[in-house]
């Protein structure tokens, strides 16, 4: 190392002496006056340069004819400083995030926002801090244009769906690729109870520095076969050279359901069901049932009136404590962080506790070689409840009769309820999931020449999840003296990336950046589980105590990718940009004939405002046009989807085999081609700025699990079918409304429109109908397909349906079988929007974010139980009281008939628009002034009050327009459906944030 620096010095010396020379010196600091350590000072147009020392000072020998130096520092705007005869300089660098010129992470490199020819949405730690939610995805809601983030429902562990620019696939995975510090993350749901969990719960939002979402083909193409659903690049926090900064954040909050639904009380229940029973000649039956359900209490006098909503929900809470130390010197930067999150969900029995730690270190061994390690680990413990389609999930309690007491006099759960009382599960069973996660990356960076850099990254991701369930002898449907289940899912993923970066500026007008690389990614998953029954008593809860083991699973699966990639960016005159990239991916997931796919992309950009005709424009301070086009793949289709397979089965403990999957040798990648045309603008010195993008995304060769006739002996086959087109517009508008010393007010508004349409399907574009959804040419993906409800016959109280047949159009029938199904709605929204306002006044900061969705519908699959005019004995929603009673009554609720099946078939009766606007997040904070803090040795102290989901404006009648059912995740499972699905929590949290 010494030798090299010597040579380096010698070169400088030679350079210095061979020409006329002089020495300049100075100090580099940020806008707060803090010294910037390790900032690069280059004699403009040459390779001659230095870095600043620990006090931010530098001195540099330069040639006589030199006119300026270029000062750069990661995260700050590069500045060119002309000498004008000076030799001592005081240089202040602007934080890049304050200007249009943010640093954007683009995968295997960075770019400045100004020079970017792609569409990338960036969120920084400021955007995601203070949102009181335990998963980082939830913090992005409403903030990234064109990115829809939905948590399936209000359970703390609920899965997350992220759609980048709408849906790009029908049955292959629709989640974006998550990349943490260059490492593709395992994002496999390992839940064993049917309700998906969020595998990335392991990541604490507090360890994230920024999230860059690659949305268009040109940016995502560098991730080739995995980029079609967009790419989410997560960058963790790292130290900045400077003295150690210690930061501590504590917050505590309470939460409650955003909304509940009103159900019949005891009085109304008895009234409605007595009427329903009389109409069906079942009066003695229903009175007998009331006797049983009321557990001997005097139901005739309404002795018991239980609101089961109150039994299923509770006040939740959330505690956060994060701690970090970061800093460094000219050679080494470090970040150590730890975080603790404890969340009690709003659903009884649903809790989460996460401990996480992170170390990010980078050391410059010499000016030419640097290496480092990013290491994150976490342990997340989740107390879980059953999936939405189980009696034992708390929210199904709303079906219970209000005349039933939840508990007996002795406090034990009442077991004579209409449906199994979830409190039995609550009291006598437990289900704990522990997710352990280690993600790390060791990396080295070698400057072979000033213009050529070699990076080698080795990333490793370990997800180790155990689930332990015990159901005691008193739980519902338990006949085996208790049962236990234990499982162990281990996924390992490593990625080895090596790439060369060529970067050179030619005679100040041209800049060329070329990245060429190679990557190998291997992922393996081992799963084991055991089921056992017959325990000596409920005090024994682990498998060892069981008398009989009834099932065991041990499976191994794997996939890998081998990829070559290249990207070239050329800039001319600081205003013309051209970029091209290509990635060639091979994967074990595809048949040997289709093993490799190539994914090219290109883009051009033009900063029009740099041209003479606009340079002095009073109107435009910035104007850039860009256009990109590229091809991406979607390989999220499971590991061996093309293979014709037989798997092992057993009969009476004798082994056998059975066909498990029809084969398709022609199966290949889904390819999506995307065109993006964008315009970025700034008016009035960029006080008004924004972006408008139009895109058109066409997915070809959609992979679909095409349902087969049951009579063929197989359920479905994986096929590349048809074409899906999705197009949309995204608008971002940022305004600096007020900019004074004491008072600033910024507004950030984004709105996105997305419309998808199926262009062709296999078998001459025949409809693909599954559950209550359809894929039909000309319609949106997974549209609702249902008979159309026509209200109630005023003469007799029968439910009516439109026939919608040829020639019988709007005629009605009371037989649902005669009614043709129609395309009745879209499970995905067409419009999504977010609006964030940030206001600062003296030490106070106030910000709030609204988000909204329009165009989606939700089908309440529980409607036929919950709102079915007393067809079954389930408690009914209050609106059912408006049932038809007498001839001439005009209502939407048919006559109540117990077991009369009057209007109970699946129909548009329970399909609703799910448009909403939600006050997603509000934060009010106060920064104590420095004069108070300095004497006590603090550099900042901030107190804040923050809220999540505080207000919701919607006409949706169900629990929550953002909640969907978490049961049924197969490809043929119904889409856009609610089923006893818990609403999102409303959380209010108070916190304090200290740094010193």
């Amino acid at each position: 190392m010494k030798k090299l620096s010597l040579v380096f010095g010698l070169v400088l010396f030679v350079l210095g002496t061979s020409l006329g020379q002089r020495t300049i010196s100075g100090k580099v600091s940020d806008s707060d006056g803090e010294a910037l350590i390790g900032a690069t000072i280059l004699e403009t147009g040459t390779a001659n340069g230095t870095v600043t020392d620990i006090d931010g000072n530098f001195s540099l020998v330069i040639s006589d004819d030199s006119e300026s130096i270029t000062v750069s520092y990661t995260g700050f705007t590069t500045q060119e400083v002309s000498f004008n005869g000076q030799t001592v300089f005081s240089i202040t660098l602007e934080d890049a995030s304050q200007t249009l010129d943010e640093v954007i992470i683009i995968g295997y490199g960075t770019s400045s926002k100004r020079n970017l020819t792609d569409n990338v949405a960036k969120l920084t730690s400021e955007d995601i801090a203070d949102v009181p939610i335990s998963n980082f995805q939830g913090t992005m809601s409403g903030k990234a244009p064109g990115v829809r983030v939905t948590q399936i429902n209000g359970k703390v562990d609920a899965g997350i769906n992220i759609q980048v620019r709408g849906i790009a696939s029908i049955s292959a995975g629709s989640d974006p690729l998550y990349v943490l510090d260059g490492m593709p993350l395992i994002n496999q749901n390992e839940s064993g109870n049917g309700a998906p969990t969020n595998p990335l719960l392991s990541l604490s939002p507090s360890e994230i520095e920024s999230i860059d979402i690659l949305k268009d083909a040109s940016s995502a193409a560098i991730y080739g076969a995995r980029g079609a659903n967009g790419v989410v690049l997560i960058t963790t926090k790292r130290g900045k050279a400077g003295k150690a900064k210690v930061s501590l954040n504590l917050s505590t909050g309470v939460s409650s359901p955003t909304n509940t639904v009103e159900w019949l009380n005891a009085d109304e229940y008895i009234e409605l069901f007595t009427e329903a029973a009389i109409n069906s000649d079942e009066l003695s039956y229903i009175e007998g049932l009331f006797d049983g359900l009321s557990n001997g209490t005097d139901w005739r006098n309404r002795e018991v009136d239980t609101d089961w909503n109150e039994i299923a929900f509770r006040d939740g809470s959330q505690q956060d404590a994060d701690f970090s130390i970061s800093g460094g010197d000219a050679k080494t930067v470090y970040y150590f962080g730890g975080a603790f999150n404890q969340t009690e969900g709003i659903i009884v029995g649903n809790n989460l506790e996460r401990l996480s730690g992170r170390v990010n270190i980078k050391h410059n061994f010499s000016p030419k070689f640097a290496a480092g390690l990013n290491l994150g680990m976490s342990r997340t413990t989740i107390d879980r409840v059953s999936n939405d389609n189980q009696f034992t999930t708390p929210l199904q309690a709303i079906a219970q009769a209000p005349i039933s007491p939840p508990r007996n006099a002795d406090g034990t759960p009442f077991s004579g309820t209409l449906y199994p009382n979830f409190l039995l599960e609550q009291d006598y069973a437990n289900y704990t999931t522990v997710l352990r996660r280690v993600t790390g990356k060791a990396f080295g960076e070698l400057k072979i020449f000033d213009f050529l850099k070699f990076n080698s990254d080795f990333g490793y991701d370990l997800s180790y999840q155990t689930e332990d369930q015990f159901r005691g002898s008193l739980t519902p449907f338990n006949s085996t003296n208790g049962e236990a289940y234990t499982s162990n899912a281990t996924s390992e993923n490593y990625v080895f990336s090596n790439y060369l970066t060529f970067e050179k500026e030619f005679n100040t007008t041209s800049y060329l950046n070329v990245v060429v690389g190679l990557e190998f990614n291997n992922s393996e998953r081992v799963f084991t589980s055991i089921d056992a029954i017959e325990f000596p008593s409920d005090d024994f809860q682990t498998i060892s105590s069981a008398a009989e083991v009834t099932a065991g699973v041990g499976t191994l699966t794997a996939y890998n990718f081998l990829s070559y990639f290249a990207r070239a960016t050329y800039t001319f005159n600081d205003r013309y940009f051209i970029k091209a990239s290509i990635r060639r991916d091979g994967s074990s997931r595809f048949g040997s004939n289709n093993r490799f796919g190539t994914f090219p992309a290109g883009s051009i950009g033009w900063i029009i405002s740099e041209e003479n005709f606009l340079k002095n424009s009073n109107l435009f301070s910035f104007l850039k046009a860009r256009i990109s086009y590229g091809e991406l793949g979607n390989s999220e289709i499971g590991n061996f989807p093309s293979r014709f397979l037989f798997g092992g089965v057993s009969y009476n403990k004798i082994p056998g085999i059975a066909p498990t999957q029809p084969g398709n040798n022609d199966l290949t990648w889904e390819k999506s081609k995307q065109l993006d045309i964008g315009l970025e603008f700034g008016f009035a010195k960029n006080r008004i700025s924004g972006e408008i993008d139009y895109y058109n995304k066409e997915t070809d060769g959609l992979i679909f699990s095409v349902p087969l006739p049951g009579s063929s002996g197989a359920a479905s086959i994986n096929q590349n079918i048809g074409v899906l087109e999705s197009q949309g517009v995204e608008i971002v508008l940022k305004t600096d409304n007020v900019q004074t010393n004491d008072f600033t007010w910024n507004t950030n508004f984004n709105i996105s429109y997305n419309q998808n349409e199926i262009k062709s399907l296999p078998n001459s574009s025949a409809d693909i109908i599954f559950s209550r959804n359809i894929n039909r040419v000309g319609e949106a993906v997974s549209s609702f397909y249902l008979p159309e409800y026509a209200g109630v016959d005023p003469d007799n109280g029968d439910a009516l349906y439109y026939i919608n047949g040829e020639g019988t159009g709007r005629q009605t029938t009371n037989s649902i079988g005669e009614a043709e199904r129609i395309v009745a709605g879209n499970p995905n929204p067409e419009w999504i929007a977010g609006l964030t306002n940030s206001i600062s006044f003296k030490g106070f900061d106030f910000s709030f974010t609204f988000m909204g969705e329009w165009g989606a519908s939700i089908y309440n699959a529980g409607g036929r139980f919950q709102s079915a005019n007393g067809n079954f004995e389930d408690n009914q929603t209050k609106d059912q009281l408006t049932r038809w009673q007498n001839p001439g009554d005009i209502t939407q609720v048919p006559q109540a008939r117990l077991f009369g099946f009057n209007g109970y078939g699946h129909s548009t009766r329970w399909l609703e628009d799910a448009d909403f606007i939600r006050l997603r997040n509000v934060t009010l904070s106060y920064n104590l002034p420095a004069r108070v803090l300095q004497p006590i040795g603090l550099s900042s102290l901030r107190v804040y009050l923050t809220g999540l989901n505080l207000l919701t404006f919607t006409d949706y009648m169900g629990y929550d327009p953002e909640s969907r059912s978490d049961s049924g995740s197969g490809v043929n499972a119904a889409r856009g459906q609610a089923f006893y699905s818990a609403p999102a929590p409303r959380t209010i949290s108070f916190g304090v944030n200290v740094t010193f």
Binding site: S456, R643, F646
Partner: protein, 442 residues
């Protein structure tokens, strides 16, 4: 460290990792389908898989019996469960998306396809002709069992179910298939069973044997009204199969291993197989849902002798207080498919119809069953008496609807030949098979 060395090491590692042969991965839990039908041991394995498929809860593991008895329910039982599909069935308001109906359909055809694969590839079994015959016979038995029940439930007039007799391995082609003639399906069932009787050994452990097939043939012939053939088959089983009635009625049920009365069962253990009858008929203590199906007084009133063990073969549900049958109380007990008692009933009915007394007189056969349950012997007998005895003996085992249709009885006031008593072709089949036609009334 020399920087060049770092570079060289990194480059070597990068290239070493980039071998394309690493992309060759094989699934660990599965074998390739192309390979599955090429070895003798795998043909045997597929046969075992076919039994497993056939015994699943969706069909002969219990739901099929429940469908048959709820559809044919004439006040013998009350459905009080929360599942929607059976509720639709008992109320005769079945929709084409009924989950029980489509699961039964899909499962039966899965069995048929797997049996077809075995039969198509039977020549791979070369080591032993008896083994080859046995395997083919078992596959034909399972295929016949499923076609018979499919056709009984879904055929309407001449429209039978689609008859697929070749295993499908390649699903990329056109899979549509029109409905075949009802009688063609029954003919196939009879010919499969006749072949199976020839092919199978007299005894085959808990798998189907010659007499399982003969017994099923007796059931089929009775259903088709071919009384002489039904009688002869039933007689063959009673005389030659080496099976006998259990010592008591209770002893005929809830076995972990087949007993002397069982001609064919689907095997259930705590680890394999499903007994769905338990789910709907048993208390929670016995592994059920507390008694979704409770037995009505109307059924109990059928018994003419209080000493008849069958008249009190019930227990009270601790969950809903209803009367539950004791026929299904062992959660991991085998699912009875054909008992010897049924053969006596078939022989009696067929002899009565034909005016013969082959093997035994109808009165002797009926009294044999009554004696086993401790009921007083009858002194004379009519066809109606035999039907009533059948209901006393075979209730809840999936006979209600088929007997009603056979005899021409009404069900809940609905005539036996009403299209309401025929199941709808599942919506999924209609949506994927363009040649399929729905039954009337749906």
């Amino acid at each position: 460290m020399n920087l060049n060395k770092i570079l060289i090491i990194a480059l070597i590692a990068a290239i070493g990792f980039s071998c394309e042969s690493r992309l060759e991965l094989e699934p660990a839990q599965s074998i390739s389908g192309d390979f599955a039908t090429t070895s003798e041991s795998n043909i045997q394995n597929i046969l075992i898989g076919t039994y497993d498929e056939a015994g699943q809860g969706a069909s002969h593991g219990g739901s099929l019996q429940v469908i048959s008895d709820l559809l044919g329910n004439d006040d013998q039982v009350t459905w009080g469960g929360t599942f929607l599909s059976p509720a639709e069935i008992v109320n005769k308001t079945i929709l084409p998306d009924n989950g029980f109906v489509s699961s039964f359909w899909d499962n039966a055809y899965e069995v048929i396809n797997q049996a077809n694969i075995v039969i198509d590839n039977i020549d791979v079994v070369e080591s032993d002709v008896e083994k080859k015959n046995r395997i083919e016979g078992e596959a034909r038995f399972l295929r016949a069992l499923n076609y018979f029940d499919l056709n009984r439930h879904f055929s309407s007039g001449d429209m039978g179910v689609p008859l697929r007799l070749t295993g499908i391995l390649d699903y990329s082609g056109d899979l549509s298939k029109a409905r075949d003639n009802t009688s063609a399906v029954y003919q196939q069932v009879v010919s499969d069973l006749e072949a199976a009787i020839q092919l199978m050994p007299d005894d085959n452990g808990f798998y189907a044997d010659k007499y399982s097939a003969t017994a099923l043939l007796a059931r089929v012939q009775l259903y088709l009204g071919n009384y002489a053939a039904a009688r002869d088959a039933a007689n063959d089983v009673i005389e030659n199969s080496d099976h006998s009635l259990s010592s008591s009625f209770a002893a005929a049920f809830n076995h972990d291993a087949d007993n002397e009365e069982d001609l064919f069962t689907f095997q259930v253990t705590s680890q394999t197989g499903t007994n769905s009858l338990i789910t709907y008929y048993a208390s929670e203590q016995n592994g059920g849902r507390g008694g979704d199906i409770t037995v009505n007084d109307e059924y109990v009133a059928l018994f003419d002798d209080p000493n008849d063990e069958r008249a009190s073969f019930f227990y009270e549900s601790p969950q809903n207080g209803g009367r539950l049958t004791s026929k299904f109380s062992n959660q991991f007990g085998n699912v009875p498919i054909i008992r010897l008692a049924e053969m006596h009933l078939i022989r009696a009915e067929a002899n009565q119809q034909e005016g013969t007394s082959n093997g035994a007189t109808p009165l002797e056969d009926i009294n044999a069953l009554r004696a086993r349950s401790g009921a007083a012997a009858l002194s004379s007998i009519t066809l109606g008496d035999i039907h009533t005895e059948r209901e006393r003996e075979l209730a809840f085992e999936g006979f209600f609807i088929h007997d009603a249709k056979r005899i021409g009885a009404t069900v809940d006031g609905i005539p036996f030949d009403s299209p309401q008593l025929v199941l709808p072709i599942p919506q999924g089949e209609l949506d994927t098979n363009p040649s399929m036609v729905q039954n009337p009334n749906y």
